[in-house]
């Protein structure tokens, strides 16, 4: 195993994955436009290419041809830098996303020649790195710099509002998000040779049938994480940074042409990333949800190409479902008001996630199976009783 083969392997993986992200972004734009049209009883794009599938390409060509305007009083350096920062950060995070487990058998390319594999090849650039989760959290937090910078450098009040809102939103949601991720790390067991924060370790721990996935073991963390993922990617119902009715276009008001296109691309890359992160943490990543003994019986033993493709398919379909879910939620739930957002972040999600992590710590330290579910159900019942009592008191007071 010499250094050049590692470099070649990494280079090929990077080339494939970066291209996949860019293609994925256009697929997402297509999904977004089609699904939003269907939800509104429209047909959606159907003119460019079969079923309008080339519409995203036409959109990008249009963006390239548009004039690139910079406001006169804007800070040109930062105005130019902001979209790059957002996009680079959004793309860089894909370095730690695994798409499948490893391949250790020789790859036969259509019977023409074989690529000898002398060590396990992982599908993902660096899925085993032992700071994987931290890397994702850190990088997604940096993406807010790009948005705030864009808002500030544009020298427009709407943009500035958008940028500041983005920063405020990030601060109030990052805590609850971090705590729910911590709950997952707390519960996932040790895996041989991998650090606890490694992404592959979290996924391998969710092996077996699909009820071993973390969403069944940590339901509260799962719900909190999904909610905060919406806030993290600036998607409706938390798209305050670009709230059209109030802020024109928010942080991207003063952007046009391909610079706007880069924000657009970064938003969709971030959306796919958030879906991938949800899938990895709570829905088993590349796990197929079928026990390995069953998979062995159909010839998908560990290390084979067949299993790797099955897992890739499982990961991608879960990812696509969550991308659809993001779009689905966008057209179902109206935007939160600014104070409602803050209330939800600080007074609802943060306390719940703190209680959740304490309960989870008890569950895994003393090995009480299902404590989280029990506490969740009991607390809901108690809260309902308290709520009804208070309501009855209020009613009696109103009558008296």
């Amino acid at each position: 195993m010499d250094i050049s083969s590692i470099l070649i392997e990494a280079g090929i993986k990077i080339a494939i994955i970066v291209n996949v992200i860019l293609v994925m972004a256009s697929v997402e734009v297509y999904i977004e436009r089609k699904v939003s049209a269907w939800i509104q009883n429209r047909l959606g794009p159907n003119r460019v290419g079969p079923f309008g599938m080339l519409q995203p390409i036409a959109d990008v060509v249009k963006l390239f041809m548009k004039e690139d305007l910079v406001p006169k009083e804007a800070n040109h350096t930062f105005h130019r830098m902001a979209p790059f920062l957002t996009l680079v950060v959004a793309v860089a995070v894909y370095a730690v996303i695994p798409y499948s487990s490893y391949i250790s058998e020789d790859i036969n390319v259509f019977g023409l020649f074989t690529i000898p594999i002398d060590r396990p090849i992982y599908l993902g650039i660096a899925p085993n790195i032992n700071i994987g989760v931290l890397f994702i959290l850190a990088m997604t937090s940096i993406s807010v710099y790009g948005i705030t910078l864009a808002g500030w450098a544009s020298n427009s009040k709407y943009s500035l509002f958008g940028g500041l809102r983005s920063a405020a939103q990030m601060i109030s949601y990052e805590l609850a998000m971090g705590l729910s991720v911590l709950a997952v790390i707390l519960m996932s067991g040790e895996v041989e040779g991998l650090g606890r924060l490694s992404i592959n370790a979290i996924i391998i721990d969710q092996g077996g049938w699909f009820y071993n996935w973390n969403f069944a073991l940590a339901p509260v963390a799962c719900i909190i994480f999904i909610i905060t993922a919406f806030a993290e990617t600036n998607r409706t119902p938390f798209d305050l940074p670009e709230a059209e009715p109030e802020l024109v276009g928010g942080f991207n008001t003063e952007y046009s042409g391909m610079k706007f296109g880069m924000f657009f691309l970064a938003e969709y890359a971030a959306m796919a990333l958030a879906s991938a992160f949800i899938v990895i943490l709570f829905f088993g990543g590349w796990q197929t949800g079928i026990a390995q003994s069953v998979l062995d019986s159909i010839g998908a033993t560990e290390g084979t190409l067949f299993l790797a493709f099955l897992q890739l398919g499982a990961f991608m379909s879960k990812l696509m479902f969550f991308i659809f879910f993001f779009v689905w939620v966008r057209w179902s739930i109206p935007r939160f008001r600014y104070d409602q957002l803050m209330y939800l972040g600080w007074k609802t999600l943060l306390p719940i996630s703190i209680v959740n992590i304490v309960v989870m710590a008890f569950e895994y330290f003393y090995d009480v199976v299902g404590l989280t579910w029990g506490v969740l159900i009991i607390s809901l019942i108690i809260m309902q009783m308290m709520y009804n009592n208070k309501k009855r008191d209020n009613n009696e007071r109103a009558i008296a």
Binding site: I39, N46, S332, Q384, N388, N395, A398, I399
Partner: protein, 165 residues
């Protein structure tokens, strides 16, 4: 239960107040919409056929190869947008007058239908054409050749006028 409830939050039940079940309900509604038939008409392929009451491009009625118009100029007089120009001429036919020149500037026309209403001969009526397109201002001025339409194609409109005017 009584009806003396003051605020929105007091009217809500516990499950409505914790918001998430309602979100799921809302998602269910939008999911149902996803599979419903669509209202969109794919326009150039699927054209809309207007009824007789539709006021489209004004045209001159052509009966037995001749126009009904006697060039009285009432339409041009009543036109609020000054879109119509008529110049009369004389013929040896039974009705001695005919329009030597009849022009409607479609950039000016507002499709009000006053010309049709005022016409004593029922010679100018609103047709069903709704996709009126030009590439230059000169093209937008329609002469007699473009305006004359056979009476058979205007049956719907004429019947509508006989019934309701």
């Amino acid at each position: 239960m009584n009806n003396q409830k003051n605020t929105e939050s007091e009217r809500l039940s516990f499950w409505e107040n914790i918001y998430l079940p309602e979100v799921v309900k809302g998602l269910g509604i939008t999911l149902k919409q996803l599979f419903k038939p669509k209202f969109t008409r794919s326009y150039p392929e699927e054209r809309w056929e207007p009824t007789g009451s539709y006021r489209g491009r004004p045209v001159l009625v052509e009966e037995k190869g001749q126009e009904r118009c006697v060039a009285c100029g009432l339409c041009s007089r009543v036109c609020p947008a000054l879109a119509i120009e008529v110049q009369p001429g004389s013929t040896p036919r039974e009705k001695e007058r005919y329009p030597e020149l009849f022009e409607i500037n479609m950039l000016r026309c507002i499709y009000c239908g006053f010309c049709e209403e005022v016409c004593p001969e029922e010679a100018i009526v609103m047709s069903k054409d709704y996709d009126v397109v030009f590439t230059s201002q000169e093209e937008a001025i329609l002469g007699k050749e473009e305006l004359l339409v056979d009476i058979e194609k205007l049956r719907d409109r004429l019947e509508f006028l006989h019934e309701y005017r």
